[in-house]
């Protein structure tokens, strides 16, 4: 059974058809990357899955349950977790308190401090536990938020451009961490621009273009696809019509 499934998902903002009949299937245990040029509708699809937007039509299933009408916090409690593009941390609070807020309802009070220490070590933030989160470096903020997201022990981890603003070294380290989490059984859906990163982590890639699923497959299939290369280079209109018919590699 797929972990996450969107069925004929549509979202319109006024006359703008931002998400157009998207069918996306995420199998349990895979790392799935969502790519596409700017304005392709990646963020909107991401927000639909999170419940920050409600779809105009279509449905979303999580673990076989229809969650289309669920509020965000209900989806999180069902086993989703998210890391935003701009670090969504509690800036005026200490690093330790950030993690405490994330974890306090998932652990017994007696073991909470110990679990926080363990996660701090995993994130390489042990020495910064008492600092204010707002005073961390950009990379550290990203790590802290990833830590908050994974502390919920989610079945599905949603990452919105997890490596935005990171150095190549930090990006690579983040990729290795995601692979380690995936090996422990976490399914991952990531919106990402960095193709080196996508190549490093992705089992499966979905290309969005003009709100539709344009292509889907392994990273090698996608890179070899000339039409995908074409939309990234901007020759969009001719190919967009060519992709109206489903079949083959293109959904």
């Amino acid at each position: 059974m797929p972990l996450l499934e969107t069925r004929a998902l549509n979202k319109r903002f006024g006359g703008l058809h931002v998400t157009n009949n998207v069918d996306l299937v995420l199998e349990t245990g895979e790392v799935h990357c969502l790519i596409g040029p700017n304005g392709a509708g990646k963020s909107t699809l991401f927000r639909l899955i999170l419940g920050e937007h409600l779809p105009s039509s279509g449905s979303i299933l999580f673990g076989g349950e229809d969650i289309t009408a669920f509020k965000s916090f209900q989806r999180i409690r069902r086993g989703m977790s998210v890391k935003f593009q701009v670090p969504g941390i509690f800036k005026a609070l200490s690093v330790r308190q950030n993690l405490e807020i994330a974890m306090q309802h998932h652990y017994e009070p007696a073991t909470l401090a110990e679990e926080i220490d363990r996660l701090l070590a995993f994130l390489n933030l042990s020495g910064d536990a008492r600092r204010l989160a707002g005073n961390l470096s950009h990379g550290q903020k990203q790590w802290l938020e990833i830590g908050m997201a994974i502390s919920l022990k989610p079945r599905l981890l949603l990452l919105d451009e997890p490596t935005a603003g990171m150095s190549p070294e930090e990006t690579h380290a983040t990729g290795e961490m995601i692979k380690r989490l995936n090996a422990d059984g976490m399914t991952v859906l990531a919106v990402e621009h960095d193709m080196a990163f996508v190549r490093q982590v992705a089992d499966k890639v979905t290309v969005l273009h003009l709100g539709k699923v344009f292509a889907q497959g392994s990273i090698d299939d996608i890179v070899a696809d000339e039409e995908v290369a074409a939309i990234y280079l901007g020759q969009t209109t001719a190919h967009a019509t060519a992709h109206q018919q489903p079949g083959g590699l293109h959904a």
């Binding site: 969504g88 509690f90 609070l93 919920l152």
Partner: protein
């Protein structure tokens, strides 16, 4: 001993300034001073101090909603007025015998809390936040003021209690404590002083426990980043509503104490000026901490009264100026700014640390 130290640990945490033996010794010294104070003062001054104390509950409630929760309620006076009028209506109709005034106090606070729950439900579950929350709550208190101001006619009565329009409701009985061998009437001064002081200590310590609990953790998380808090699986609307109701109940407690203290309440207690003052008290001291709010409120009230004696309406202008100066120069509050100023020469600052 173990139970005592566990109790003290719950009073302390990242959400409150002041921890460790030094702070609590200081706390006990201040408390002892406050207890001894009526012995060295005359009845009038003690009664005046009670008047100061009655406002602090409303300030602490606003500190919880605004300073900790990040939602600016401009209408705490609505709950103050509702509870004050409710106390008057209940006690004028049912009298003060058998300690009924205390029952009336509980009912009046509950009515204010219930009204806040209803209003807060539509506000928070309708996802109204930021400046709009302030506008709606201010509107509510102004509507209540206007409504009560036009109840001068004899047809506006509930049982024996005339609402009396702009002249206000008066002659409700003061609070009484049932006591074997005759009720103790808490008429201003000394007896009421001790009861209000006791309530203040209980509320202050209770709020310290609340903000340092897991509830308080989520409350400050909502203030810092509501989206992130929700995406950790918390239904932030429930926490906001709960906080709003607690803050409203405290404003209601202020309303009852004020009404029973002066045996008088008027619609202007819900008006524009009255609604703005709690914001000045809380902002000037430092809204993000209970202790600075408490100290700030007492200080500002004392300054305000001193100014009123000498310059009547100019005192309000000074209050306004104080708020502007605070917002511009020390947005986190004057006590925090002073502390930073004093600490600066001694601090060994690491780059990037606050």
């Amino acid at each position: 001993m173990n139970a005592l130290s566990r109790f003290f640990r719950r009073l302390e945490g990242p959400q409150t300034l002041g921890r460790g033996p030094a702070f609590w010794v200081g706390f006990l010294v201040v408390l002892a001073g406050a207890c001894a104070y009526p012995l060295f003062s005359d009845g009038y001054t003690v009664g005046n101090t009670v008047y100061f104390f009655t406002w602090i509950f409303m300030a602490l409630g606003l500190c919880l909603i605004w300073g900790y929760g990040g939602s600016l309620s401009f209408g705490q006076t609505a709950f103050f007025g509702i509870a004050g009028y409710s106390y008057g209506i209940l006690t004028i109709n049912f009298g003060a015998a058998y300690g009924f005034t205390l029952v009336a106090l509980v009912f009046a606070v509950a009515i204010a809390a219930l009204f806040a729950a209803l209003l807060g439900y539509f506000l928070f579950f309708g996802r109204i936040s930021g400046v709009f929350l302030g506008i709606v709550t201010l509107s509510v208190t102004l509507v209540l003021e206007r409504f009560m101001a036009q109840t001068a006619g004899p047809e506006w009565r509930i049982g024996a209690a005339r609402l009396n329009g702009f002249n206000g409701m008066s002659n409700m009985p003061p609070l009484t404590l049932p006591w074997p061998g005759g009720d103790i009437v808490l008429f201003p001064d000394v007896q009421l002083y001790y009861v209000v002081l006791g309530l203040l200590v209980v509320v202050y310590l209770g709020l310290r426990i609340l903000v340092n609990s897991s509830f308080g953790n989520i409350l400050v998380a909502i203030r810092e980043n509501p989206e992130r808090a929700e995406m950790l699986g918390y239904d932030i609307r429930k926490y906001q509503l709960g906080t709003f109701v607690i803050g409203a109940a405290l404003a209601g407690l202020s309303g009852v104490l004020y009404t029973s203290w002066g045996q008088y309440i008027t619609p202007s207690s819900m008006g524009m000026t009255a609604a703005a003052l709690p914001i000045v008290w809380v902002a000037v001291g430092g809204r993000s901490d209970l202790t600075t709010t408490l100290i700030g409120t007492v200080t500002v009230l004392a300054v305000f009264q001193a100014l009123t004696i000498h310059g009547s309406q100019y005192a309000l202008v000074v209050m306004g100026a104080m708020l502007v100066v605070t917002v511009l120069l020390a947005p986190s509050g004057l006590i925090f700014a002073l502390a930073r100023l004093v600490a600066r020469p001694f601090a060994k600052r690491q780059p990037g640390d606050a």
